[in-house]
């Protein structure tokens, strides 16, 4: 493992404890004197700040490039609309209209316009906040309500990675485009699951995803004694390492519900997170 790798914490199913694992791992590493940066890339519903309570001292809007048409220069040829696959630009009756919310910022219309009438302007799609929680550097991406540009906000959040720190990246749940944007090119993916049929089903999807992307990974079983053994059986059969089993401890549930970190309330768990870090190779 590199000295300052990027560790993504992901899960097929939502609500398995992804954020709990991510923030406590960040804290455990920090307590041990490691330089840590926590990046909340679950930009639709970022929750890491509830636990880390960082002081955000920098707020920066996230923009996406969308077309702006100069009506004087436009000849109404319609090539832009014919190329656009998203219905974000259309030429009717010699007028060109843009629909910014549908744009994916591929840049095609600008490039194809023979009159050079299309330039790129910036549309606000989210916000990135940065600050510190004690020794932990925190970055949080936040998608603007009603926007569908989740992957772009994630990419911009990732652009804040500090090369001199271990990066703990809290990914969105699921296995589709936003998750891919979060976990691509990371050094290790922790998949958090729970020992239930839903947990196992969604873990299999997540394993399929990280294997397709060719990323090294390991599993964390949360509320490990609350369900049955099918996740254990599956991981055993597939040769997947279970790096941490967190018990179904009602004190953890209560701390979580109050927005408190496990390690602050129950310091005896530090050694388990140390073992997790070791299991990852940190």
């Amino acid at each position: 493992m590199k000295t300052h790798p990027v560790i993504a914490v992901a899960s097929g199913k939502g609500g398995t404890g992804k954020t709990t694992i991510a923030v406590n791992l960040a804290l455990a590493l920090s307590v041990n004197g490691r330089a840590v940066q926590y990046l909340d890339c679950d930009v639709e519903e970022p929750n890491g700040a509830i636990f880390l309570k960082p002081d955000f001292d920098s707020r920066m809007p996230v923009y996406a490039g969308v077309p702006q048409v100069d009506p004087q220069a436009c000849t109404g040829c319609g090539k832009c609309g014919a190329l656009c696959q998203y219905g974000a630009i259309v030429s009717v009756g010699g007028n060109v209209l843009t629909f910014e919310q549908l744009c994916h910022s591929c840049g095609g219309c600008m490039r194809i316009c023979p009159a050079g009438a299309i330039t790129e302007k910036q549309l606000e799609i989210g916000l990135i906040e940065q600050g510190r929680a004690g020794e932990i550097a925190c970055v949080q991406g936040l998608l603007k309500i009603g926007s569908v540009r989740t992957p772009t906000v994630i990419e911009q959040t990732r652009a804040k990675m500090n090369p001199e720190a271990i990066k703990i990246l809290d990914a969105p749940p699921g296995t589709s485009c936003p998750v891919i944007a979060a976990v691509r090119d990371t050094d290790f993916v922790l998949l958090v699951t729970e020992p239930t049929p839903f947990g196992l089903h969604d873990l299999k999807l997540a394993v399929g995803m990280v294997r397709q992307l060719g990323l090294p990974f390991g599993v964390v079983v949360n509320r490990a004694d609350s369900g049955d053994d099918r996740v254990e059986v599956y991981c055993g059969r597939e040769g997947i390492d279970i790096l941490l089993r967190l018990p179904d401890d009602r004190r953890i549930a209560r701390a979580y519900s109050d927005g408190r970190m496990i390690l602050n309330v129950l310091p005896e768990y530090q050694s388990r997170f140390d073992q997790l870090a070791e299991g990852i190779g940190l």
Binding site: G15, T16, N47, V148, F198, S257, D258
Partner: protein, 291 residues
């Protein structure tokens, strides 16, 4: 016919378990699993698939290796990082996990070496369950266009409900506030937001309610595991009241929900007189009165 969509900003609040329980209570309904990214409803309803079809979500670029001259124009134009050099060769390939189907590379390849082909992003199913017919899907791993697949599932569910004169559509929505969620709720008759009494649950509830406001959709709230943190539940109720929204149910924490799931049952079947089952039964009565 009334379409009820069950969503939750936050994952893991019990949305699917509650949907499955409502499915057992609603007579004459069609089930739709719109959580295509992590479809779990079938694990409880055990559907028998009657029909299955490919889902063509869009189109993707494919580079023909024999025609590629390796000029790298596609590589420099692609804004999604989907074009990758082929190792050891002067050629490029498309990584389909990252291709967003914009067609820019296809248009500008000087060798005409890039095809634009339909991409099968998943499969969708028409099934029979012990609760009635069900429309569901499997989105391929690392696939795009889950919003379009959600729209397709809802359309098929509506068609089915109309053809069979079903009274209800119960749709299990997806977590978050992004594209598939927006596709889950636009035009629904009733949206039930399932949350839990945690800081995270409350935070995500606020975000999802901003979204339903944005799209002017009527929503009501259900607090699951309400007794795990009664103070927080009370705060959620107060916030809801300020927004003129009702908390239709406070479902107590009940391990029967997980135990039922392990038996591939819903909680009404597994423990019909338990606290969760009783609460969900009252919830269903309230929904019927409200819609």
């Amino acid at each position: 016919m009334k379409e009820i969509v069950i969503i939750s900003g936050k994952g893991g609040t019990g949305k699917t378990s509650i949907t499955a329980a409502l499915a057992g209570l609603a007579q004459n309904s069609v089930l739709a699993d719109c959580d295509v990214d992590a479809a779990d409803l079938h694990l409880v309803t055990s559907p028998t698939v009657l029909q299955e079809q490919d889902f063509v979500g869009g189109r993707q670029a494919v580079i023909q290796p024999l025609q590629c001259r390796g000029c790298g124009r596609c590589f420099s134009l692609c804004r999604f990082g989907a074009i990758q050099p082929v190792e050891g060769k002067k050629a490029f390939r498309v990584n389909s996990s990252f291709c967003e189907g914009c067609k820019v590379c296809v248009e500008f390849c000087p060798a005409g070496a890039i095809d634009f082909v339909d991409s099968v992003n998943g499969r969708w199913f028409l099934s029979q369950t012990r609760f009635g017919p069900m429309v569901h899907a499997e989105l391929g791993i690392a696939q795009e266009n889950s919003g379009k697949l959600v729209a397709l599932i809802r359309k098929e569910a509506r068609q089915l409900a109309r053809a069979e004169q079903r009274e209800w559509i119960l749709a299990d929505g997806s977590p978050g506030i992004g594209c598939p969620v927006i596709a889950s709720l636009t035009g629904a008759d009733f949206v039930l937001v399932v949350t839990e009494p945690t800081q995270s649950g409350r935070h995500d509830l606020r975000r999802i309610l901003e979204l339903t406001d944005h799209f002017k959709i009527a929503a009501a709230i259900c607090v699951n595991k309400a007794d795990l943190n009664p103070e927080m539940t009370a705060e959620i109720e107060q916030e809801a009241a300020k927004k003129n929204l009702s908390v239709l149910a406070k479902i107590p924490y009940d391990t029967a929900i997980t135990r039922a799931q392990i038996q591939a049952q819903n909680v009404i079947e597994y423990d019909p007189d338990g606290p969760a089952a009783r609460s969900i039964r009252r919830l269903w009565e309230t929904i019927q009165e409200t819609v």
